[in-house]
Symmetry: C2
Subunit: 390 residues, 2 copies
């Protein structure tokens, strides 16, 4: 199932899950969600991974045919898992963790019935918690993703042509991202969140509210996907915010940059600089032990001092966070909100995106993905932050 040099990595990830299971008294987790399957096996398959408090995971595979490796057992349906565990001499769990924030109601019921004696509890938090602090290999993959993202962003000035619509611009950027190696699929947590390869927000469309919990909205071109570019021409005196998601290797970074078309007013320029000022402050604060709520509150202080509260994190509709964990999924733990109890640890990876929406002009601000180190935040998406002219 995985290359030999990956095995120690996957056991490291398993151990992180097991530590949290032990702390919560969970005897075993049966993992079914694609993002979690990918985390623990380095590939997506249809099936389940059975993780106990110790020992290696057992991979119950339905599809595809032909997977090989240690502890791979083919089943046609989940009901066979119990008999396979009996054959292996493994005790049935008394307390079983299932991803109750991911599995459908009926799938959760079905998997529960495989273990009729078990008390079923929610393992979503265990898995999100384990994935929140990255391994060194995961950070390296995200750094590589950041290199590809920024290589694509470097081509933005040559993509833009006067008179383009935001959508034409986005389409050319999608092509650049794909040619740079993007797999063409942004993995997002939560089945209410839908997006194509990302978001280009130009001019007043940046203020159009969206149903989704993205930092900024946009009306989209069709009400079946009401987010992002709306197909209008990019006009002089507006900004274009580029928040595209390449996903180059399964571990994503998240980066936003803004360009201006012609000149924009002073307040817009100022807001962009305040965003950068907030990031500089966050980079210093972001050491292990820092409360993410303190980061949120400090960002609010800075933008309020600048007199920009009406525009911070949206204008007509506001987002309730200034950043979020990122990795296999674009939206992971921790989320930087005023009520969060999360505290930074080394090797957490977080995207911080202090953004402003200036009515009729557009969105401004910078988003970087960082890894937490003892010296503060290290930027995985280094790229000029100035609002350059297109």
């Amino acid at each position: 199932m995985y290359r030999a040099d990956l095995k120690s990595e996957l056991l490291l990830r398993t151990k992180k899950i097991q530590d949290k299971m032990i702390a919560q008294g969970i005897d075993a987790c049966l993992i079914a969600g694609n993002a979690n399957l990918y985390y623990i096996s380095d590939r997506v398959f249809r099936g389940y991974v059975f993780v106990r408090q110790e020992g290696e995971p057992i991979y119950f595979v339905i599809r595809p045919v032909g997977l090989k490796g240690d502890n791979v057992i083919y089943v046609r349906k989940p009901e066979q898992i119990a008999e396979e565990l009996v054959k292996l001499g493994i005790d049935m769990p008394k307390k079983l963790g299932l991803e109750l924030d991911w599995l459908t109601f009926n799938d959760a019921k079905r998997l529960s019935s495989v273990f009729p004696e078990a008390e079923v509890c929610n393992s979503t938090g265990v898995l999100k918690g384990a994935r929140m602090v990255k391994t060194d290999l995961e950070v390296a993959k995200m750094r590589e993703d950041g290199r590809h993202q920024t290589a694509a962003y470097a081509k933005v000035p040559e993509i833009y042509k006067k008179g383009m619509t935001d959508l034409q611009f986005q389409i050319e950027l999608e092509r650049v991202l794909r040619l740079e190696g993007s797999i063409g699929f942004a993995r997002v947590s939560g089945h209410l969140m839908e997006i194509n390869l990302g978001s280009v927000l130009n001019g007043e469309n940046a203020d159009a509210p969206t149903p989704f919990d993205f930092a900024v909205g946009g009306s989209g071109v069709n009400q079946s996907l009401p987010v992002g570019a709306n197909g209008k021409e990019m006009l002089d005196g507006t900004t274009v915010m580029v928040d595209m998601n390449g996903n180059f290797n399964g571990h994503q970074s998240d980066i936003t940059r803004v360009w201006r078309i012609g000149k924009v007013d002073e307040m817009t320029e100022k807001a962009h600089e305040v965003s950068r000022q907030i990031l500089r402050e966050m980079e210093k604060m972001g050491v292990p032990g820092c409360k993410v709520a303190d980061m949120y509150n400090r960002a609010i202080e800075i933008e309020e001092e600048a007199g920009l509260a009406d525009y911070f994190m949206g204008h007509t509709q506001k987002a309730a966070f200034i950043g979020h964990g990122v990795g296999i999924e674009l939206n992971e733990m921790p989320v930087l909100t005023p009520r969060s109890k999360d505290v930074l640890e080394a090797n957490m990876t977080i995207a911080i995106e202090p953004k402003f929406v200036i009515p009729h002009v557009g969105a401004v601000g910078v988003e970087n993905t960082y890894v937490v180190t003892s010296e503060g935040l290290e930027n995985l998406t280094p790229f000029p932050e100035e609002m350059a002219e297109l």
Copy 2:
């Protein structure tokens, strides 16, 4: 919430849901899934639609701000729905339908608790059943989608350049689809199904099995999305199967065509023609009242008579269907399998995709999206079916 001319359409859709609710004794459905929200309101939003056995739906909206229209009520959380219904003088349902095959376990529990007196049942089938038979407007939207899809496919010969990889080819085709109006997002049912804008399968990669329930596989370029093009050069003597999903207006059609690079062997040519022969047979059979299982079995008869059983619907790994409903989601009801109890009705829309995988050569066959009429199947994706040379 919707334009005046859409209102009668949406009430027609509502009525189709209500008829099925009455047949099953369901007093009310609380709809939360994006595809179903889009079906009944012509837009995706975050929130819920409350549908009773009669009367207009009530739209409980969380996000975005600013939606207007009849029966729109803003809530912050689902718990407020009960008190809003009381204010409206609406009786609490005794039997409540929830999408138990779509909602997460925890979301289903939370919504159930809003109606503590209600017996909760699964409304997934009611909604899938209602959506299975399209309205005339839905068929018109899918016909329009088919026109855009085929306009993009017509550009395939000019996209191809000798020495290209399958991925480079796919990237240029994605751009053509997007410039043609694709929203860049293929809506698929089931959170185990992941895909980017579609599948280009060249040469032996067509035989690589995938975890997903697509008709044909491909290894993909990264194990986090193990499906489709794998980045290898397109070689002489192979085929390239193009099964891309534009999604131009929220109602999708599904079309596959195959090109060859240089010459391919006789069996490959024959298999492609047998696929077309199966489609001609299906087009005649496909009148209201026809059992979809009979269609499946007839297709099997034809390909077995041709001596191609080893290659039909996959070789190393086989798909268990020859077609499927299509609409807001790419994979809808009915599914054309030997055990299906479904019977064709006028205005069902189905994609039929008799495909063969010839080892080392590639995949062949044709997929069209059809609407069921009293004279048989009408093709919504008309486009030359011959395997032309690239």
